[in-house]
């Protein structure tokens, strides 16, 4: 595990080390001999014709790994899957991204991957909710839907042959994310699950866990403004009511608390799921931690210990 940069005193260092060792011992060490580093030879049966997949190369008659990771075998295909890498998109992933450019009939979105993704105008619902052909007027009014630097959530539609990623945002739950903060975590900490949208009504918080490592924590909009046709095209942002723009203090506290829970998980390198976030949230509230102190050394150590306890109790229940 990479060195965690926190100023820990001696007791805290010991406690953290113990918690991390406990987690290490609990993690299933299946096929530990399947992990390879660069230039390791992969044991392969040369009589069966073997297909050399990603992360391998042929060197002097041997199959040699070019990545650090775990060897996977599927029938005749042998490839190396790296554990930490840039985001690798798959169809159906929920993504949170930032609009970089408004181009002809499409938006370019930055999703923290090798390339920017593309959201076509035709993959986006029109404000008037009518299914129709996109006209030239629609193209000119693209900025009314999304502008540069807007944060949006969408779904991966497909990966084209040249590597470009196409997104689609045709459902109600996708679209612009307003009033909140965007967090960036390593993308391998967010696993693919059934639910990536979490609307926490009791806290008034809208949480979107993007598979690409961007996580949105924001205010829950109860009344979503659907009919935007009547709004003037040159709507100035300052003209929106000042009172409406300010988030209530209670909800803001919850947003910051959840954001800090996610930051602590990212620092410690634990998987980010809704259950863990809620547990940390409740832990911080029950121990009366001020929101800012959640990023300090003491709370990190507590989280590590709590996670070790939780995992050991869940393995005891299973086994």
């Amino acid at each position: 595990m990479r060195g965690i940069q926190l100023s820990l005193n001696q007791t805290q260092k010991l406690r953290l080390q113990r918690a991390l060792d406990k987690l290490d011992s609990l993690s299933s060490k299946r096929n530990s001999n399947a992990s390879v580093t660069v230039a390791d030879t992969i044991p392969v049966n040369h009589e069966d014709g073997v297909l050399k997949g990603h992360g391998t190369t042929e060197l002097g008659g041997q199959v040699v790994a070019t990545l650090c990771g775990v060897v996977e075998r599927v029938n005749k295909l042998v490839y190396v899957r790296s554990l930490r890498s840039r985001y690798k998109p798959e169809t159906g992933d929920i993504i949170v991204g930032r609009v970089v450019e408004v181009a002809q009939k499409r938006w370019r979105i930055d999703i923290n991957a090798n390339q920017d993704a593309v959201l076509m105008l035709s993959s986006m619902n029109m404000p008037d909710r009518i299914q129709r052909r996109r006209t030239a007027i629609d193209e000119l009014n693209m900025r009314n839907i999304f502008e540069e630097n807007d944060v949006i959530c969408a779904e991966v539609r497909n990966l084209q042959h040249d590597g470009t990623l196409q997104l689609q945002a045709r459902s109600e739950k996708y679209g612009k994310l307003d009033r909140g903060q965007l967090l960036k975590v390593p993308c391998y900490l967010v696993k693919r699950r059934k639910q990536h949208f979490h609307q926490l009504d009791q806290y008034g918080v809208n949480l979107v866990l993007g598979c690409n490592g961007y996580i949105w924590v924001g205010e829950l909009n109860e009344a979503k403004d659907i009919m935007m046709v009547d709004q003037p095209i040159n709507a100035q942002p300052n003209s929106t009511n000042e009172g409406q723009a300010n988030t209530p203090a209670e909800i803001r506290q919850n947003i910051c608390r959840i954001a800090n829970s996610i930051r602590v998980l990212a620092t410690l390198g634990f998987n980010i799921t809704m259950e863990v976030i809620e547990e940390i949230f409740n832990l911080s509230r029950s121990l009366d931690f001020v929101v800012h102190d959640m990023l300090g050394a003491e709370f990190c150590v507590l989280v590590a210990e709590r996670e070790a306890e939780r995992r050991s109790s869940s393995t005891k229940r299973k086994g």
Binding site: S7, D178, R179, G218, T247, Q253, C256, V290, L295
Partner: protein, 286 residues
Amino acid sequence: MVGLSIGEKLFIQSGIAQDLRCDGRRRLTYRPLYVETGVIPQANGSARVRMGETDVIATVKAELGKPSPSQPDKGKVFIHVDCSSTAAPMFEGRGGEEFSSELSVALQRCLLGSNSGAGAGIDRASLCIAEGKICWDLYVDGLVVGSDGNVLDALGAAIKAALSNTGLPRVHVTVAAPDGEQPEVDVSDEEFLQFDTSGIPVIVTLTKVGRHYIVDATTEEESQMSSAISISINKKGHICGLTKRGGTGLDPSVILDMISVAKYVGEQFMNRLDSEIAAAEASEAE
């Protein structure tokens, strides 16, 4: 610099107005501070300071030199800052040069006082060995490894930590020479004198967003600022230097108010920094 959407900007501004910033801090709270000393063994003194994602390294190298004719009883201190290209995307290639020179000038103003040497934070008289003949030249270098706002404060803290880590070899003048000639010196390898850093000021940057001031702004918060003032304050509460950034003008009463806030914040930060430096030196000694 990554842009921010209108909703995010509103969130940041209203957060500052409501005294609850994005990471839960209050307006006058610093991020967790992490100090390491002795990171560069070849230098006479070095330190690394981390505040959130902002990561800076400061080193002090000492060489024997001749004092300038206008100030024969004082040593010379040169401060230079370099922004690594990996610190932020905008520092790629030569993009960081403007920011580096801005930081160098601000540090010189805050720590070295005016051209005549009056009001300096660093006591240069202690660097003199033989008046008019030999003095210590200190080359203080700063390297910005990670930039997430408030780089100037971090550099000020790192320089203070590096100077407290600096050991100057003891110098004996062996042969006293007549005027105009350089005396011979014997530079000891064993004995080291610790540089006295109790008088060195700490830099506090107050960023004005809307009608409120915040301390230790992140890059997102800095993008919303109208102006920022960096004040260097020493232990006695005296101001050693003042720098203003940002395009918006400030009313003089606002500046005086910011100075008094900075004094209050600076005192607490100085105490915290001193204890962190002591802890870092203790762990380095182990």
